[in-house]
């Protein structure tokens, strides 16, 4: 068996590049559903060429061939059985149909509203642990959540300060908060409590305590990388 010569390898290499070109070209044709099939079968042919010629499988012993084949066969077993599950699911369990958020119960009067969507803005998930809302009677020790201010921010202030609607300073926007922080924490708190320009008093949530609002402001400030000295005793 003559050693595969340089010309032989170059031939394989050019075929591979040609197949690559074909594969990319097929992406521009209007094949719709068949496109995935075409591109993947080209990939399989390329893989076959690489394995048989570049990886010496053409003249290998039967056992390494079985070892190589078993990798792919087990992959097909896994795909086959998992896709059987996804293919035979009834309509309401289809993965494609996303359901509306499950019904949030409305927070009862007076309680700090539970975080509406725990990690709506996909912050670091580990930081925020949902605390059971207050009406669970048994008084089991609720987990110490990270900061009350952050929870208030996520449930209320985020509506405007999340995206910076109506001129509200966006949480995390250092410049906006830098200017405002110069006036000192107290003015910020009073603006927030009795309303300021487009901001309704207490952000439209009259049941919020001043304590909650101070905490939320503190969170927004720290999110924007600013810490201002708080005069006086009322430290949240």
């Amino acid at each position: 068996m003559a050693e595969p010569t340089l010309r032989h390898h170059l031939g394989i290499w050019l075929t591979l590049l040609a197949l690559l070109g074909l594969s990319i070209a097929s992406a521009f044709l209007e094949l719709g559903e068949a496109k995935a099939f075409v591109t993947l079968s080209i990939a399989v042919i390329q893989a076959f060429l690489i394995v048989t010629f570049f990886m010496y499988m053409r003249k290998a012993a039967p056992v390494p061939r079985i070892a190589a084949a078993s990798g792919f066969i087990w992959l097909l077993i896994m795909m086959g059985l998992i896709l059987t599950d996804y293919r035979t699911r009834p309509e309401d369990m289809m993965l494609g149909r996303l359901l509306p958020e499950p019904a949030w119960e409305s927070p009862p009067q007076g309680a700090v509203p539970t975080p509406l969507a725990k990690n709506r803005d996909y912050g670091n998930p580990a930081a925020i642990q949902p605390t059971p809302d207050s009406e669970r009677g048994e008084g089991a020790p609720s987990k110490p959540d990270t900061s009350a201010g952050e929870r208030v921010y996520r449930s209320v202030c985020i509506a405007c300060h999340g995206q910076g609607l109506m001129g509200a300073p966006r949480a995390g926007d250092q410049a906006a908060w830098e200017a405002r922080s110069k006036a000192g924490m107290e003015t910020l708190v009073s603006h927030a409590v009795n309303g300021y320009q487009a901001m309704p008093p207490k952000g439209g949530h009259p049941e919020l305590s001043e304590q909650d609002i101070r905490g939320a402001i503190g969170h927004m400030l720290s999110a924007s990388g600013i810490s201002i000295p708080v005069r006086g005793d009322r430290q949240d």
Partner: protein, 224 residues
């Protein structure tokens, strides 16, 4: 023996097999089989992520198509060509080491490592571009994508970064392996042919994985 291992043993070799083997041929066959068993496990390792990607792509075809459209097909295509070429240079290195031509082996190995690093560089450029376009939902960064596919596009780009990141890591290991082989070649280490060919098998596998990653991620989009 009607078949040989990937590593042809030359009758006039002076090298002694390792202590636990009886003959050099037995050792080379064992090395080849051992490498192929490892490659089978690597195929299944990446297979798990391909599996998850396939399930989501069949569930959200439109969203994944839209998201895939934001990838840079040009750079992706070039990268695939580079990796296929590096497979060629690796094979030529194997031929050279079997033909005991140390100088040619060193050149082809260096070329393979170079092509690998170019691939990683281009990949880096692509990633930087996507980070700038706010298409990278990593570390809680904002992810901007036109409605109505925002959530599923975030899923696509999660897979994009996971798959290409994992492949890049394996390619990096491959480049280091090829450089180590280069050093062995320059220092004419014993069992050189076995070492270079086995490292070559790993390199080809990394190329093989990219051959599947490219169409799954880049060619999902509706172009033209």
């Amino acid at each position: 023996m009607t078949y040989q291992s990937a590593i042809p043993t030359r009758p006039d070799t002076l090298e002694q097999p390792a202590s636990q083997f009886d003959s050099l041929a037995q050792q080379h066959q064992a090395d080849t089989l051992g490498m192929w068993v490892f490659l089978a496990s690597e195929i299944l390792f990446f297979g798990g992520m391909f599996m998850a990607y396939t399930v989501y792509r069949t569930a959200f075809p439109a969203a994944f198509e839209a998201a895939s459209g934001h990838l840079n097909l040009g750079l992706g295509g070039i990268n695939t060509a580079i990796l296929l070429t590096s497979s060629l240079t690796m094979t030529l290195a194997d031929d050279a080491v079997v033909a005991r031509n140390r100088r040619a082996t060193a050149i082809w190995l260096a070329l393979t490592a170079l092509l690998g690093t170019i691939f990683l560089a281009i990949k880096g450029i692509e990633w930087r571009e996507e980070f700038r376009e706010q298409l990278a939902p990593l570390f809680g960064r904002p992810f901007v994508f036109p409605e109505p596919h925002t959530d599923q596009a975030r899923l696509f780009f999660s897979f994009y970064f996971a798959l290409t990141g994992l492949h890049a890591l394996h390619l990096l290991i491959g480049v280091v392996l090829v450089l180590v082989m280069l050093i062995f070649t320059l220092r004419d280490a014993p069992h050189l042919d076995a070492k270079v060919i086995i490292a070559g098998l790993y390199w080809h596998l990394v190329d093989l994985i990219w051959v599947f990653v490219f169409p799954l991620l880049y060619l999902a989009a509706r172009h033209g």
